[in-house]
């Protein structure tokens, strides 16, 4: 393989990793906990900026590499895992802040509007206050993690970064999978299905949803750090509110609430449908390409919601029969009892947890 093809491949693989982390995070909020977050990209942006500020070093006045060509609020330079942890913290803290304000106070439809608006306000603030994060031109020259330690450069380093991304993805997978099968995950699904039923069983609905929102936001932050660690630049144009819609498309096509489905969606949606039109014979003008991609995204979303509303790999139904619980002589916990209530007992059709509610 020529170096340019290899570079393209590594870029593609890192993008897959970044989208995996982000979509798993959003799926936790939206698919599992049922919070309509149309402003998710804000958390990715927060993580990316946090990573940048923790690697770029102090803002230099006149001398040095950074010679004042970009301005930002504050900066420092810390070794490898710390900038990534800072990104996780930034995403999580921002989610906590937004979540505490938005989640308990507003109903679902207002929440969706509020979260969309919060991400737009974030974009507006960064764009209009250049001294904060260099405004529209954004930050560039963001250092690569471990470049000095590994001694690698060029394509060798790119492959190393792919491996690093894969490792992070594995850890994230472990986290979201564990949450999914834990009592916490079951409670979230129960809340999504029926808030009233969950509350009646003594579940602290607000706190559980807030926790899911924060964990999702932290993952969004991490995805931003992994992205800028590789592409080394970040500007408001990279995180328009439309980006969130690409994540949402991925989740709908892959399978709402299903981590495996989301992984399938991440590979299918941006890679195949995003890259495919570039290989098609030139249709009209080159500037049509972006438009055609977005039309495809839209059409795909409509098609899937109509023909396969639960996605390619639907969320697994957790169902317990009464004998499952009692037969094993286990104490029936409230969570499991709730699952029985919501799943219906054997043979009784239940209201499935898909977005269409068929």
């Amino acid at each position: 393989m020529s170096v340019s093809v290899q570079f393209y491949l590594t870029l593609l693989l890192v993008y897959v990793g970044v989208n995996l982390i982000a979509c798993w995070g959003l799926n936790l909020q939206m698919g599992v906990a049922g919070i309509l977050n149309f402003g998710f990209v804000l958390f990715q942006a927060a993580g990316a900026y946090a990573y940048a500020l923790f690697t770029l070093g102090p803002v230099s006045g006149g001398a040095g590499l950074n010679a004042g060509y970009q301005v930002y609020l504050w900066g420092t330079q810390l070794p490898f895992p710390i900038p990534f942890l800072a990104a996780i913290a930034a995403g999580g803290l921002l989610a906590a802040l937004v979540g505490v304000v938005v989640l308990p106070r507003l109903r679902g439809d207002y929440q969706a509007v509020a979260l969309l608006v919060v991400s737009l306000i974030g974009g507006g603030i960064v764009l209009n206050n250049i001294s904060l994060l260099n405004g529209a031109s954004g930050l560039s020259g963001i250092p690569k993690p471990l470049a000095g330690v590994t001694g690698l450069s060029g394509i060798g380093y790119s492959w190393f970064y792919v491996a690093l991304t894969a490792l992070i993805c594995l850890m994230v997978w472990y986290v979201v999978h564990q949450i999914g099968v834990s009592p916490f995950g079951r409670t979230l699904r129960a809340i999504r299905e029926s808030e009233a039923a969950a509350r009646s069983l003594g579940k602290d609905v607000k706190r559980k949803r807030l926790t899911a929102f924060i964990v999702g936001g932290a993952l969004g932050g991490l995805s931003g750090a992994v992205l800028v660690g590789f592409i080394n630049a970040w500007a408001p144009a990279s995180w328009g509110y439309q980006e969130t819609f690409v994540f949402v498309t991925v989740i709908i096509i892959g399978g709402f609430g299903s981590n495996l489905g989301v992984a399938v969606g991440v590979i299918l949606v941006p890679i195949i449908f995003g890259e495919l039109p570039t290989f098609l014979p030139q249709l009209g003008q080159a500037s049509w390409l972006g438009a055609i991609q977005l039309i495809l995204y839209g059409a795909l979303t409509l098609g899937f919601l109509w023909f396969r509303p639960r996605g390619i790999v639907p969320e697994k139904r957790i169902s317990y029969s009464r004998s499952d619980l009692v037969g094993r002589g286990r104490q029936v916990e409230a969570n499991e009892m709730l699952a029985v209530v919501l799943a219906g007992e054997e043979g009784v059709p239940r209201h499935d947890g898909d977005v269409s509610g068929q």
């Binding site: 049922g34 304000v101 507006g124 949402v248 009209g284 438009a291 109509w306 509303p309």
Partner: protein
């Protein structure tokens, strides 16, 4: 002459445009339960149709008529072909929002392919100005304000005085009960889409008339301000949307003029955030329905 009066004057004009748009948007959400994020793109299509009339030498009133018709027909078609079938399948708010975003992407990008990234101008701005209490208006701006006032009056009469208006309010409050009482809710929703689509089209043409140049993405960029006006007014409350539009239009113009033009949009968002936090039901709370969101 004080500057503030001048900015308030600008605010009144943008409030008039916003009111047309926000009332239509609110009506769609209230009667048909669709939070239509493709609204901005429909506005753009109407403005483009009016542009064709404009190039052929049609007058402003003809542009408005064509824009309103195109908005009405396109909205009704979108409802019949896409929104209503999905709603019948049991898609709730979340799914419907995603559907409208997808439709918006499709409509917006088809317009982009057909009409390009360039900017358009009607060239209808009249040079004659009129002055009232320190405010300055051009002829087309006055026409816009008059149009908005007339449209609001018509909407008010339709909703309160006519049978179809009562049917619409009944459907909005409880579709099942409305159907059980013999109201043809399908017909009601068609009419609601036609009326709100007309407002959407008129708003598209009015918005395009008010600026020197606009492009295919202008409608979408207005959507957030429309959303702000609708939410501030109490989402799903057409009368509230009028007040919301007035508040947002005037405050953003004054802040944009006095402080910094780039804060025009942000000030709209901040008003919206303030309302969401402290008065989420809006200026006119009315009957706030708990809607099913997921599933």
């Amino acid at each position: 002459m004080s500057l503030i009066a001048l900015y308030v004057g600008f605010g009144v004009v943008s409030a008039a445009i916003l009111a047309l748009a926000a009332v239509g948007f609110s009506m769609q959400y209230e009667v048909t339960n669709v939070l239509n994020l493709a609204y901005g793109q429909v506005m753009t299509v109407a403005a483009l149709a009016a542009y064709a009339v404009n190039r052929l030498g049609g007058a402003l009133w003809l542009m408005l008529v064509v824009g309103g018709l195109v908005g009405a027909v396109l909205s009704a078609i979108l409802n019949r072909l896409i929104f209503s079938p999905f709603a019948k399948r049991g898609l709730k708010l979340f799914g419907m929002i995603v559907i409208t975003i997808a439709v918006g992407l499709i409509v917006g990008n088809i317009s982009l392919i057909l009409f390009g990234f360039g900017s358009f101008s009607y060239g209808v701005a009249s040079l004659t100005t009129y002055r009232f209490a320190g405010m300055v208006f051009t002829g087309s701006q006055l026409a816009t304000v008059a149009l908005a006032l007339a449209a609001m009056a018509v909407i008010r009469i339709v909703l309160v005085k006519t049978k179809i208006g009562r049917a619409m309010r009944a459907t909005a409050t409880d579709p099942v009960l409305a159907r059980a009482s013999g109201i043809r809710t399908g017909l009601v929703s068609d009419v609601a889409w036609l009326i709100s689509g007309t407002l959407c089209g008129l708003a598209g043409v009015a918005a395009a008339t008010s600026v020197a140049a606009w492009s295919v993405t202008t409608g979408d960029s207005l959507l957030i301000t429309i959303l702000a006006a609708a939410v501030v007014g109490g989402i799903g409350q057409p009368y509230g949307a009028m007040l919301g539009a007035l508040l947002i239009g005037i405050v953003t113009s004054v802040i944009g003029g006095y402080v910094n033009p780039s804060y025009t949009e942000i000030s709209a968002f901040l008003i919206l955030t303030g309302f969401l936090l402290f008065r989420p039901a809006g200026i006119v709370p009315g009957v706030v329905l708990e809607r099913e969101v997921i599933a």
